[in-house]
């Protein structure tokens, strides 16, 4: 228990120090307010429009979560196909890699054209950015099953489905969760980028605040987006701990 408290408390120290420094720099006039607002000003703007920020936060959270869930489902399915079919792997994996290198900011306007303004575009953006780590890590996990355990299953006359569900998938869980952990942060980034274009959620707030030169609101939105990313990461970390507690 004491260790858990320490683990939470230690990262808070630099955060508190940096916040205090930023507050001092801003109040002393060392950094102009139009470049960086005082943290107290950011919190004030969060309090002033708590309803608007809450709505935007929930919209981004819903889009990112849906994008991440889709990434998990589609990514896992795709990884299974790539694992079991060498032909398909050799045919499609280079495109999966290519897909990963295309910047989402370049695709986002296309998504608006295809899917219109609103949630579908944001979810699609979140999905596109976050699916690759799930595929890559899942393929790695599924293909690195201990050869001795595979032989054991062969000796036990296990069917391909039994080998998949009772050996390959459970064996790959650490790698799959590792992929989801990376994808969690990316899903939020993808959603924010989608919202920049389609104009909703925290991304929409950032864009609007930028146009109004309300840098305090930009910082407040960024803070909430970061919190959302941390929330996803923590959720996946706890799930990982539960699933792997006996290994």
């Amino acid at each position: 228990m004491r260790n858990s408290v320490k683990a939470i408390f230690k990262p808070l120290i630099p955060l508190i120090l940096i916040t205090a420094l930023a507050e001092w720099l801003s109040r002393s006039g060392s950094i102009p307010a139009f470049l960086m607002p005082a943290p107290s000003q950011v919190f004030q703007s969060l309090a002033d429009d708590s309803v608007g920020f809450k709505k935007a936060f929930l919209e981004t959270a819903l889009a990112s979560f849906t994008g991440l869930a889709l990434s998990l489902l589609v990514g896992l399915f795709f990884a299974l196909v790539l694992t079991y079919s060498r032909l398909i792997r050799e045919m499609l994996y280079p495109y999966a890699l290519f897909f990963q290198t295309v910047p989402i900011i370049a695709i986002a306007p296309l998504l608006v054209i295809w899917l219109g303004y609103g949630l579908p575009t944001v979810i699609a953006s979140s999905f596109i950015v976050s699916v690759f780590p799930v595929i890559a890590n899942s393929v790695l996990g599924l293909m690195s099953t201990d050869s001795q355990l595979l032989s054991l299953f062969k000796m036990m006359d296990a069917s391909p489905l039994q080998t998949l569900f009772r050996l390959r998938l459970p064996h790959a869980i650490p790698q799959i969760i590792g992929g989801v952990q990376i994808a969690g942060g990316l899903a939020v980034i993808g959603a924010i980028v989608g919202e920049f274009i389609s104009g909703s959620g925290l991304g929409g707030l950032v864009d609007a605040a930028r146009n109004q030169q309300r840098i305090d609101r930009v910082f407040a939105s960024v803070l909430l987006a970061a919190m959302l990313g941390i929330l996803f990461f923590s959720f996946v970390s706890v799930t990982k701990k539960i699933l792997l507690k006996n290994r």
């Binding site: 355990l149 032989s151 054991l152 299953f153 062969k154 036990m156 296990a158 459970p170 006996n246 290994r247």
Partner: protein
């Protein structure tokens, strides 16, 4: 029903290790031990009998199906996400036996292999000796007619090796499966088995094939007898001469 190996050979491209041309008959209920230096093809021979590898030449005539065989791996090969009991009953579950029936079947083996206190433990919580007991229990729960064991005691301390050897010998006496047992230990091979094969060279060939005359009861004291020591010396000299 015996297992027959005729002109069996397994060679790996770009390597000397593997199994040279081998002819062998393994009668039912015999405990046969295979000893020899690393790379002489002991594990390859085991995998060929199991059908886990395909021979480069020759054939294995094994009348048994996979369901009638078990394989015990060197490092126990337990599923780390399953408890002791779940690991033991795995072969039965894969055969469609209900969980209740499988757990009932497992109780006998848990008792015989002294695992009562550890049924709900996970492999990460077990010592090497306990893991191997679980592995042996899993191999025996299906009552196989053939058990292939690949250096099962290699990672264990001598007292645990002896204890497990005694337990395994007792189990063999009551069930009489055919056992093909790969080991690096001459003493272990002579003490536990009915027949010794010494493999030599790369690729490996049978340099010695001897049926033991010690009888079914193998107390620990047998290892100190002059005849036993003479056999140890002979195998040792053979391995040293060809090593």
């Amino acid at each position: 029903m015996s297992i027959e190996l005729r002109g069996l050979q397994k060679l790996y491209a770009g390597s000397n290790v593997g199994l040279g041309t081998t002819d062998l008959d393994i009668p039912a209920s015999q405990w046969i031990s295979i000893i020899g230096p690393s790379g002489c093809g002991k594990t390859t021979l085991l995998k060929l009998i199991a059908g886990l590898e395909q021979p480069s030449a020759g054939a294995v005539t094994n009348p048994l199906s996979r369901k009638e065989m078990s394989y015990v791996f060197q490092d126990s090969a337990l599923l780390p996400w399953k408890s002791v009991i779940e690991n033991i009953i795995l072969p039965l579950i894969l055969r469609g036996v209900s969980l209740t029936d499988a757990e009932n079947d497992a109780q006998d083996w848990i008792r015989k292999l002294k695992l009562e206190k550890f049924v709900n433990h996970y492999p990460s919580q077990l010592s090497g000796g306990l893991k191997m007991r679980v592995s042996v229990a899993r191999a025996l729960i299906t009552k196989p007619q053939l058990i292939l064991m690949d250096e099962p005691f290699a990672a264990l301390d001598e007292p645990i090796r002896i204890e497990l050897g005694l337990e395994l010998r007792e189990l063999w006496k009551s069930l009489k499966p055919t056992i093909v047992f790969v080991t690096h230990s001459i003493t272990e091979a002579l003490w536990l088995s009915d027949r010794i094969l010494v493999l030599q060279g790369q690729p490996g060939r049978i340099a010695l094939d001897r049926t033991q005359t010690f009888g079914d009861d193998r107390p620990l004291s047998l290892r100190g007898s002059p005849e036993f020591q003479k056999n140890v010396e002979e195998c040792f000299q053979l391995l040293r001469a060809n090593g």
